[in-house]
């Protein structure tokens, strides 16, 4: 009911920015009601300001956009292309996708990326687990089951993107991580007591950590998921939305649901959690892992062998548990190709993990 004339006529809410057109959404971050055009403009300008404030790019750089075909990376590709033209960033953009080898999931989403390639006229490079590691996720799941498969996938994906970036000779990779993702990761690192990750997870960009690692950044770090989804919806962007068929990632699921529940009561919760993460400082004397390089493949690692090499060794030797849990003391044996004892083998073979 209208509060001034007590009639039952529903008055459309007007845009609080232009005061002319009908508002289409209430922004979770500011509480403003905006019309479609004012929302597009506000969203794009905020990403631009994030990029400028953190000096994410330099003119002349080649930037790879990590593209999965999902909402975040599709919006990222769209906005990066648009801002690069609007503000003459002078960047050469391309899309990098990882094919994990998941039938009925990634093969479908890669079709979306291929359409994006044409829609945005950006070159696309797909790197696959099969060509990089000799294993598809389908084959890995067959061997390890559905319990720790996400560990394999996550570790392999990180390296795969770097490898793709090096093949394409890009200077930087940008990923579609949004504000909700960052807040979720802060919570997860708190819940797991992972202080090293907690300290670096809110950083908007990573410096080059060494040979074979390409610097990464998150231009959508302060963009709410709600706005990303509505931006894609109102712009009619073509994206793919199906859950990974192997994703039982329950722990992240709980953190996510918790955060969404908080957001529904207090929309600023997401920014608040990020703010907390950004301003935490770790007391001196807290033991941190020392970053080195993997003695087998040269990738960054805090152990003699990087996680990816250990996981791969486990797969190739039929000992899938090798990379799950703490088996650091076996690394020397693996490196020098010594045989494992029967007891060690038995422990690492079990699939009941």
């Amino acid at each position: 009911m209208c509060i001034c004339c007590f009639s039952k006529v529903k008055m459309p809410v007007l845009c609080s920015s232009c005061a002319k057109k009908r508002a289409v959404l209430k922004r979770p971050k500011t509480g403003h009601s905006l019309c479609k055009d004012c929302f597009f403009w506000a969203f794009e300008e905020e990403v631009h300001r994030t990029i400028m404030a953190a000096k994410l790019f330099k003119p002349g750089e080649t930037v790879g956009i990590a593209a999965s075909g999902g909402k975040d990376s599709t919006v990222l590709a769209h906005v990066m292309k648009l801002l690069n033209e609007r503000y003459s960033y002078g960047l050469e953009l391309m899309l990098i996708s990882v094919d994990e080898g998941i039938t009925g999931y990634r093969d479908d989403s890669l079709e979306t990326v291929k359409r994006n390639q044409e829609q945005y006229e950006l070159p696309l490079k797909i790197v696959s687990y099969e060509e990089l590691y000799g294993w598809t996720m389908d084959a890995i799941v067959k061997q390890v089951g559905l319990k720790n498969n996400c560990t394999f996938c996550g570790v392999f994906r990180r390296q795969a993107l770097d490898r793709g970036a090096i093949i394409l000779k890009v200077d930087k990779i940008c990923t579609g991580h949004n504000a909700d993702d960052v807040a979720e990761t802060v919570l997860m690192n708190v819940l797991r007591g992972d202080i090293a990750r907690l300290r670096r997870c809110t950083a908007i960009s990573t410096a080059s950590e060494g040979e074979g690692v390409v610097p990464r950044c998150k231009p959508l770090k302060y963009a709410y998921e709600k706005e990303i989804v509505l931006y894609a919806y109102f712009k009619k962007l073509d994206y793919f939305s199906t859950e990974c068929i192997y994703s039982p990632n329950a722990y992240r699921g709980y953190a996510r649901t918790f955060l969404k529940d908080l957001e529904s009561i207090r929309p600023s919760s997401i920014m608040d959690v990020i703010h907390s993460g950004e301003n935490l400082s770790v007391r001196e004397g807290v033991k941190m892992p020392v970053q080195g390089t993997c003695s087998r493949c040269g990738y960054i690692s805090s152990q003699a062998l990087c996680k990816s090499c250990v996981l791969l060794e486990g797969l190739n030797r039929g000992l899938p548990k090798l990379g799950i849990g703490k088996h650091h003391r076996l690394h020397d044996k693996i490196l020098s190709q010594q045989p494992l004892t029967e007891k060690e083998e038995r422990k690492l073979k079990a699939v009941d993990f």
Binding site: P12, L25, K26, S33, D72, S73, I228, S241, K260
Partner: protein, 101 residues
């Protein structure tokens, strides 16, 4: 008695998976003494359309947090949410934000 109300429902962003993968539904809500509102529509959807895991769509008497609702292409937060009274030919869209990005 209010006349039956015809509404167009759309599920997207992965929410359609809870409705046998069907994205668009043209439905007719039967006539009843009071006008239909969003709260009643959600109960109706749960009873008549939802095929699996209802807890992924409704929570209490509202949608699960993380599902966006648009009424005639506007955020339902601007339209009174659960109290919004449906009109014939309304277009209601539910988009999940909970699926991979």
């Amino acid at each position: 008695m209010a006349a039956p109300v015809g509404v167009h429902l759309e599920f997207g962003g992965g929410a359609e998976l809870l409705f046998n993968g069907v994205k668009e539904h043209q439905v007719t809500l039967p006539s009843q003494s009071d006008p239909w509102d969003m709260k009643q529509l959600l109960v109706w959807i749960r009873r008549n359309l939802l095929k699996e895991r209802p807890e992924l769509f409704v929570q209490g008497d509202t949608v699960r947090p993380g599902i966006l609702v648009l009424i005639n292409d506007a955020d339902w937060e601007l339209m009174g949410e659960l109290e919004y009274q449906l009109e014939d030919q309304d277009n209601i869209v539910f988009i999940s934000t909970l699926h991979g990005g």
